[in-house]
């Protein structure tokens, strides 16, 4: 067992960059990302797991980063919204769809909305409106009333399908 005051080593890869640091075990993952790594695209909303604004992926799984300790993430690979677009892309096709469809206003909920869209489209290339609403239902948006978001996901799905078709025919 460790001493209570002692910082603990944490070795993580965040958006492709390795960080070997020592952190206070009391630090939530979201605060580690925002304050220690200055990746402030991950937002803090409720700290109860309800709003989804702090969503990131840990080892490929979509999670709410206010619900874990930074020390628990030792050894894992994390993606934040800053690393959402692929290398060389300014915006990914999903982000472009949200942009073009006015899928967000203030943007606070985007980490959850984007990562949940990505997860959905990875499993289901042609989701129904019900599938989309189910996929985003762990995220609260207080601006748009969700219609624009649903439209954005539909557009992103269509764009992804076209993209995949192109790839197949090439």
């Amino acid at each position: 067992m460790t001493n209570p005051q002692q910082n603990l080593p944490v070795n993580v890869v965040v958006n492709g960059v390795r960080h070997q640091v020592e952190v206070d075990p009391r630090l939530a993952l979201v605060d580690f990302l925002r304050e220690d790594l200055e990746l402030t695209g991950t937002n803090v909303g409720c700290r109860t797991g309800d709003c989804g604004a702090c969503t990131v992926t840990v080892d490929g799984e979509v999670v709410k980063s206010c619900l874990s300790l930074a020390v628990s993430a030792d050894g894992s690979e994390i993606r934040t919204i800053e690393g959402f677009a692929g290398e060389g892309e300014e915006l990914s096709p999903i982000q472009s769809a949200f942009w073009n469809e006015f899928g967000f206003q203030c943007g606070y909920c985007l980490p959850g909305m984007l990562f949940c869209t990505e997860e959905l489209l990875g499993e289901n290339a042609d989701p129904s409106e019900a599938d989309i609403r189910h996929a985003i239902d762990g995220n609260l948006c207080r601006c748009t009333g969700y219609h624009g978001i649903v439209r954005s996901v539909q557009t992103a799905a269509a764009a992804t399908r076209t993209c995949n078709r192109k790839r197949v025919s090439e």
């Binding site: 067992m1 460790t2 209570p4 939530a28 989804g52 206010c66 619900l67 874990s68 762990g138």
Partner: protein, 278 residues
């Protein structure tokens, strides 16, 4: 940042975790299975453990099929349960309806929900419905308790402070029975107000209904299949001993909904027996 200081540890097995708990001599501890309850509670200063045990390396996640039971590790997430071929169908139906988004289903675990024993959660009622047994481990002893005996009150279980939940087994005989599961929620994304697990015997008659969310702990209503709908309602109300009230619904509302939902569950079983789509 969480205000109070604690020791953080990642034991490699359930035995190691129990050994650490044994040294705490009644001091408060917290176990991180998925962390979805415990981390926010610490962040909001509602819980001030001296020791935090993280189960991530303890090898307690997974579903396996044994001769007469399906054995589930307490740290198995809802997503893992949804994807495992061994997960009983009834439990698959339950976990598909857990809200909070895939973020919660990817992290929240069956054992965390069982040990937290929140009256409005799906898992306590589901475990009682499936006649699950829970394997508890202390440093120098183990014991097996039935789910129906495990839940004592709202957020209170049989777990002693030095014990951990090591595994959950669900008898395979469940496969032979017909189940239905339904819950009442005020909105798609909200917590269940009442959950109903219904077991029918091989003859397709609803014999046992487990009501969750309406009382502080899940309770069973036994039926002989001959009752009128009014009698079903009376049975439910008579079986309710520890009514539960919270910000989402008063005890009276829950009592009413429990009756109506039970009637529906019994109807659904009858429809399934007659080959109708439920």
């Amino acid at each position: 940042m969480i205000a109070h200081r604690f020791k953080y540890s990642c034991p490699r097995s359930a035995e190691e975790a129990a050994a650490e708990l044994a040294q705490m001599e009644g001091e408060e501890t917290a176990i991180i299975s998925g962390g979805t309850w415990v981390v926010p509670e610490m962040s909001h200063h509602l819980r001030r453990p001296k020791l935090v045990i993280d189960l991530k390396l303890a090898g307690l996640a997974g579903v396996s099929a044994e001769a007469d039971a399906v054995v589930i590790g307490p740290a198995t997430t809802y997503t893992q349960l949804a994807h495992s071929k061994h997960t009983p169908n009834f439990l698959k139906k339950v976990v598909a309806g857990i809200t909070g988004g895939s973020q919660i289903r990817n992290r929240g675990t069956i054992g965390g929900s069982a040990c937290y024993a929140n009256p409005a959660s799906d898992i306590p009622g589901a475990l009682v419905t499936m006649k699950a047994s829970l394997h508890l481990r202390a440093h120098s002893s183990t014991r097996i308790v039935e789910a129906a005996d495990f839940f004592l009150d709202a957020n209170v279980t049989l777990l002693e402070p030095d014990e951990i939940l090591e595994s959950i087994s669900i008898p395979s005989t469940n496969d032979e029975n017909l189940f239905s599961y339904a819950k009442f929620k005020t909105a798609q994304g909200s917590w269940p107000i009442v959950t109903i697990g219904c077991i029918a015997s091989e003859d397709g008659v609803a014999r046992r209904v487990i009501v969750g969310g309406a009382g502080a702990i899940p309770f069973a209503v036994d039926l002989d299949g001959q009752e009128s709908e009014d009698e079903v309602l009376q049975r439910v109300h008579a079986a309710m001993r520890q009514p539960w009230s919270d910000v989402f619904a008063t005890a009276d509302t829950r009592r009413h909904i429990a009756g109506v939902m039970t009637q529906r569950a019994v109807r659904e079983i009858a429809a399934a027996k007659n080959g109708e789509k439920s």
